[in-house]
Symmetry: C2
Subunit: 470 residues, 2 copies
């Protein structure tokens, strides 16, 4: 195990090391694809569980659509195929033969799901139709980075159809709000929600909403999106319903997705020089008990207490005892700190004599507490830690944001800051950012604070955030 | 909605209709691939949840490996590539270019997982290593049938590595036992466990164990398998560990999988002329409440009671009220019977005056019971139904099995029976079955009851079941 690179001066290298050292992922023999190891997958399973429940509460139901999509389907919506064509993986041969029509591995499933919607939606009674899919998708990546940008990634994609534009708009915003909650209340990541500019929106959408996290290196991370697709896909896929008056209409569509990228966001937002720091709400192990002993007699005594504590605490808490006899307590402290477990309980024979144990949390606090109070304390302490991690991250994020009014001023600080500025809404002004590897991350929905566009200085349509991005 | 084909005389047609009418699946535009609709997926999610827990209890951890596998990996194990080559889907182009080496969509993941195992396993301390993956896999199917045999299907595949053959053998058997429990205790499907013959075992395995269900049309359905792979894959992938004595050894491997086929097994085993019959343990909706009313006043009264009952019962039961005002109660009875919901509660104003409700179960019993006793009754009734479904299925299955001693006798009854007979173990005797579209489904592990082989009449090595199969 090598020392982790300095998180302040070598953040990309730190990220690259920690995800391997903490055994979240491993390099796969297929370029751009991840092997997600059990600990990384356990974090993803926690996130999935929470998100799945909230999606079901929103009224959507899970279904499964084919991995493979006929190439011709992609071509039905002009903007859509233009956006995805360069990233497609194509199956040309199968079952020992050349296929009559190539099949692409889904880069996203609008086309095949809308093909099915066209058969399921006949009347206003069939609306709204709300479907969600947990799936793997493939987009060929030139510069892959584990969790952040991978050729194969894992996500949920929601797809809904509505009788009116208002209802579709409402669902688009409702799902964005679900995502905001997941990010802030569970991942403890402060995010900025807003709209995507014309240059950044989803190919084929009328409007794209996004939730963006600002990472410690001042790069923005798009953590997920919610699209108002409107009627263009409905028209492309011949999806019509009879309204209450008996006339045929095209339904209004939405789609919304979030991915394994959330794991990368969590790693970058909370990690420190010792390794991962995982918010209790999504930690696969919330509490690790480390028994400390020298003799076999002490071991029995200490493990007895550990087992009793675990039995009580596991009713409310994801808890584990590390009784590996190959490792010293010091090794175990290091091991679980690296993996970001929120709370460590140390139980040694001396503590037990005083009816005490030591509780250390991953943000650095340490205290000796009465054995009898542990079971009562832990749930509150996990809640407090969750809040403390959010507050700490919020402070970090806010310190990155800086207000600027001109392109020159923006360029001068863009290496170390996220910039808030005004924007006229034109493709031209957005376009000039590209040469500086900057982009508009989101247009704010709140009232204007900058009067003029950062580039043309004409009146601003909305405030926006500009940053480098993942 | 058409009438279902006669289940006795047109079983394949009945199956083909019921899975569409009950909205478990839909035809996809990609030949051989399924669209699994919300109700079908909800059943699969119930099965997955139970199986996932049992797999975790066995000590395996979930991980994720790439969908795409370099073609050269498949070729490393000679039997393996020979077995799977004709079924592969091949990606030849990606990111707008022809790939240097084609990638296949995983038909199963031994090769890529063993490639990773070779990097993770260094010492006896790393063993046993137990990994499970929930994934989609693709095998090009010539004669696809929804759930039973599809080009893309969904499964879990477990992969383990052990220091000794004994330990690997133990895990192979342990996982077969987990599968037997899932089938019998949750899906209420009586199964026969046993070994696969040489002609039927997994390409590359030393031994394959199977659990087979015998469907009402006397066809056997292989519901899942557990393989002792031994060392051939370890050798092919250069996987070695240092044993306690410091010497290098090849680990002993296993793999085991079960698929969305389990949903098909459930449909065929329990279905009747009215539609699906779903065992309570895996039913997404265990109890449906149908309110019956004519006036708005009655509606309020009846729905009040329904809501109160639901609130109490949902603590232990998956329950739903069908308050669709577009449908008559008769339509709703039909709708939920077709979907196999185990228990229906009918609440009408006349019943309420007597403080009673009507409880009808999917096996045909119906009773009027005191309102106050419903909450106490339902869990017991669900348990009894679960048992009754298993007993009924067991009786059906056992009536299909017939003992025969010669090939002629077997051929005469094979259209309508599953045959138990003796087998010498030779590839020749197994081979003669093919021309009659029969095969050896499994070799029994129990003591011999047939002394001679059904074909050569030489001494039998083990009893076996012979049947047509899915």
């Amino acid at each position: 195990m090598n020392k982790l690179p300095d998180i302040k001066t070598q953040f990309p290298e730190w990220y690259q090391e920690i995800i391997y050292q903490a055994e979240l992922v491993d390099q796969s023999p297929v370029r751009g694809c991840m092997v997600i190891r059990p600990y990384g997958n356990a974090i993803w399973e926690e996130i999935k569980g929470i998100l799945d429940q909230k999606i079901k509460e929103s009224g959507a139901e899970n279904a499964v659509f084919p991995l493979l999509i006929p190439e011709s389907f992609l071509k039905k919506e002009a903007d859509h195929v233009e956006g995805f064509a360069p990233e497609l993986a194509v199956v040309t041969h199968a079952g020992g033969k050349k296929l009559d029509e190539p099949l692409v591995i889904r880069p996203t499933s609008e086309t095949i799901i809308h093909h099915m919607f066209a058969q399921w939606i006949k009347s206003w009674r069939d609306l709204p139709l709300k479907i969600n899919q947990w799936a793997n998708v493939v987009r060929w990546e030139k510069r892959p980075r584990a969790f952040l940008r991978t050729t194969e990634f894992f996500w949920q994609e929601g797809h809904t159809a509505h009788a009116t534009k208002e209802d579709a708009q409402k669902t688009t915003e409702q799902m964005l709000e679900v995502y905001r909650q997941i990010a802030q209340d569970y991942l403890a990541i402060p995010v900025q929600t807003g709209r995507k500019s014309e240059g950044e929106k989803f190919p084929g959408a009328e409007k794209t909403y996004t939730f963006e996290g600002f990472m410690p290196d001042a790069r923005a991370l798009q953590m997920g999106t919610s699209h108002l697709l409107s009627q263009s896909f409905a028209k492309a896929f011949d999806m019509q319903f009879q309204n209450k008056e008996g006339q045929l209409e095209y339904p209004w569509l939405t789609s919304w997705g979030s991915t394994t990228r959330l794991v990368g966001a969590l790693v970058m937002t909370h990690g420190d020089q010792k390794g991962l720091v995982i918010p209790p709400a999504v930690a696969p192990i919330q509490v690790i008990i480390i028994p400390i002993y020298k003799t076999e007699e002490e071991r029995t005594l200490v493990l007895n207490t550990a087992e009793t504590l675990k039995k009580e605490l596991e009713k409310t808490t994801r808890i584990k005892i590390d009784d590996d006899q190959q490792k010293t307590p010091g090794n175990k402290f290091f091991h679980w700190e690296l993996r970001g477990v929120p709370i460590r309980i140390e139980i040694g024979p001396r503590d037990l004599k005083n009816n005490e144990v030591v509780i250390a949390d991953r943000l650095g606090s340490k205290a000796t507490v009465a054995l009898g109070s542990v079971v009562g304390l832990i749930p509150t302490q996990l809640e407090n830690l969750q809040k403390a991690m959010f507050d700490k991250a919020k402070q970090k994020t806010e310190s990155l944001i800086i207000d600027k009014d001109t392109l020159e001023a923006i360029k001068a600080v863009a290496e170390t800051n996220v910039i808030k500025t005004g924007f006229c809404g034109s493709r031209e002004c957005e376009g000039v950012l590209k040469q500086y590897t900057l982009s508009i991350r989101c247009l704010l929905l709140e009232q204007l604070t900058h009067k003029n566009c950062f580039n043309c200085q004409k009146p601003s349509q909305s405030d926006c955030f500009i940053a480098r991005s993942y």
